[in-house]
């Protein structure tokens, strides 16, 4: 009897070990299926979710139907549930299985059309303005190249707007301009994919170096539905910024402070937001190489930007101020304004939000000076920037995620995922009341 009981216990234990793997497999399949559904539906035609785009994915089969809010929301919510399941069961998932899943998701999104956002066409337009038309993208909007084939695809709200991206990114995008719209689009997708792969690899490395579960970190970033569908799907340059951010963290962990600080500055010359890391890094490391690396990179970047674009290429503050005045319906300040019966955000609210952000950053700086993890402090600062911003897009709330996965304060990860969950919850109105 005792032998039988022992054997039964053994089977139960083995079953207990197999169930999580099975459930994780189902979660992975749901993620792949939901992503495939979105991509196949996006191939058919543009819709409120899919921007007008050259037919780069016309060779994919016409299996779905034009992507509407309802289908997209079902796919998004299914992905979120599967993502949650994967994170809960990450302990039982092998490194090889995690990499296979992320490679599949990346491949599906890569072969499909551009999802959700028109930003990539603005990137191409700015590059073509500089290379093909001899115009400075820091002083002209895409409207000035209205005869260029890319102009048709630029988002309506951005036709008159000069670039807000850093000079390093603008210069990096210039070699893609002569490839034509289709060629540049594929190149942008390749750059986004390689940036993502680099960010994932460095997140893995940093997580392991800091004693975190690297498989969990890999899945939490690479299988994140906002990351896959929005950031990767839209080929956003935020992925390049995040790559340089993780290069900086990785170099700091290796004790290479000067190149780490230079990497932060390089990231800020792609998209200024990542500059938020620098004061925390300086305060935590307190070494001359950090200061020297940052100063040298900044001086070099400013010189190159000035030579290429004049004073407008150096004046990132003006671009940031302009963007900070934008208001989106998905931003948390707008939601809070509605909660208190206001129709939206007013200029006085912008000042209050800036004040709140300053208070948060000062508190984080003080905490870092007292020994708090600078990576966590940087992550909190990026999260605070996205939460207090009146112009919030899905890929903005991804900025702190890689840092949250390697930070010593687990509250940052919980907070980041909570903010992402609230952002997704805010999208579900068409699910309850679809307007047709």
């Amino acid at each position: 009897v005792s032998v039988a009981a022992h054997a039964e216990r053994g089977i139960a234990q083995r079953r207990g070990a197999q169930w999580p793997v099975l459930i994780a497999g189902v979660c992975a399949l749901v993620l792949v299926a939901a992503t495939t559904e979105v991509v196949l539906d996006a191939v058919l035609d543009h819709s409120p979710l899919i921007p007008k785009s050259p037919a780069i994915a016309g060779w994919l089969p016409d299996l779905g139907e034009r992507l509407g809010y309802r289908t997209f929301l079902i796919a998004l919510l299914a992905s979120v549930a599967a993502y949650g399941g994967l994170l809960a069961l990450a302990g039982g998932i092998s490194k090889r299985a995690a990499i296979a899943l992320l490679a599949t998701l990346h491949a599906i999104v890569f072969v499909g059309p551009i999802l959700i956002s028109t930003d990539v066409f603005s990137y191409i337009a700015y590059a073509r303005m500089g290379v093909e038309h001899g115009l400075n993208p820091y002083t002209h909007g895409p409207i000035s190249i209205s005869s260029d084939p890319v102009y048709y695809f630029v988002g309506r709200d951005w036709k008159h707007v000069e670039t807000a991206y850093g000079p390093l990114y603008t210069l990096l995008s210039y070699p893609l301009a002569p490839l034509g719209v289709n060629g540049a689009l594929w190149a942008m997708k390749i750059v986004a994919m390689f940036s993502s792969v680099g960010t994932l690899a460095l997140t893995w490395r940093c997580a392991r170096a800091r004693g975190r579960d690297p498989v969990f970190a890999l899945l939490a970033l690479g299988a994140n539905p906002l990351y896959v569908l929005y950031a990767l799907g839209g080929a956003h340059n935020d992925l390049i910024m995040m790559l340089l951010m993780m290069v900086a963290v990785s170099l700091t962990l290796a004790g290479r402070d000067a190149p780490a600080a230079a990497a932060v500055v390089a990231g800020a010359l792609v998209k200024a937001t990542v500059a938020a890391l620098l004061p925390f890094m300086l305060l935590a490391r307190r070494t001359l190489p950090v200061l020297a690396g940052a100063a040298a990179a900044l001086a070099l970047g400013a010189l190159v930007a000035f030579l290429a674009f004049g004073i407008h290429g150096v004046d990132v503050v003006a671009a940031l101020n302009r963007d900070a005045a934008f208001v989106s319906t998905d931003s948390f300040p707008t939601e809070i304004a509605h909660l208190f019966g206001k129709p939206g955000v007013f200029p006085v609210d912008h000042d209050l939000l800036k004040g709140a952000l300053v208070v948060i950053v000062v508190h984080l700086l003080w905490r870092t000076s007292r020994g708090y993890d600078w990576v966590a402090a940087s992550g909190w600062a990026l999260l605070a920037i996205s939460v207090t911003s009146t112009w919030l897009l899905a890929w903005y709330i991804l900025w702190p995620l890689p840092l949250a996965l390697v930070a010593r304060d687990r509250r940052l990860l919980v907070a980041t995922l909570t903010i992402q969950a609230l952002f997704i919850a805010h999208q579900i109105t068409p699910f309850f009341a679809p307007v047709s």
Partner: protein, 153 residues
């Protein structure tokens, strides 16, 4: 010996004091974070409910236009009357099949509560093809639109 003992004791007290302070700070920060999360969750929930109500009203408005004009068109434009009434909408659509604004358009002023999936038509006007809904283009106003001088011709 006693001096050394006092130093060790005071160092121990310092460490304990710092740990207590750290613990208190961590708790305070966590409470603030939870309160912020609660505020954001309530604001998000409130927005979803508001948007759902707005969408339900829009669905009723589109249905009202189709039923009033007996035309099953889907290319309709809806604008909210921000000036006076947040729940009063103007729905415009073609009077004949075709792309948006390619034919004479009929605009209806719709307000009131949703009843049986529709709302009440208070008035309206016509617009010539290929123009936006601006007062200078409106003609043949009827119902409340005439009373509110929304037509200039």
């Amino acid at each position: 010996m006693s001096a050394h003992g006092r130093t060790a004791a005071s160092e121990g007290a310092d460490v304990e004091h710092t740990a207590k302070q750290g613990g208190r700070r961590w708790r305070t920060e966590t409470i603030v974070l939870l309160l912020v999360a609660l505020l954001l969750a309530i604001a998000t929930g409130n927005d979803v409910v508001q948007h759902t109500h707005t969408n339900q009203r829009l669905i009723a408005d589109l249905s009202t236009w189709r039923s009033y004009t007996h035309k099953p068109f889907h290319n309709l434009s809806v604008s909210q009357d921000y000036s006076k009434h947040f729940t009063r909408e103007v729905v415009c659509g073609n009077t004949a099949p075709g792309d948006p604004k390619t034919h004479t358009q009929l605009c209806l002023v719709i307000s009131g509560p949703v009843r049986h999936g529709r709302r009440e038509v208070r008035g309206g006007w016509y617009l010539p093809p290929r123009v936006e809904d601006k007062p200078e283009f409106r003609y043949r106003c009827f119902g409340s639109a005439r009373g509110e001088f929304q037509c200039t011709r």
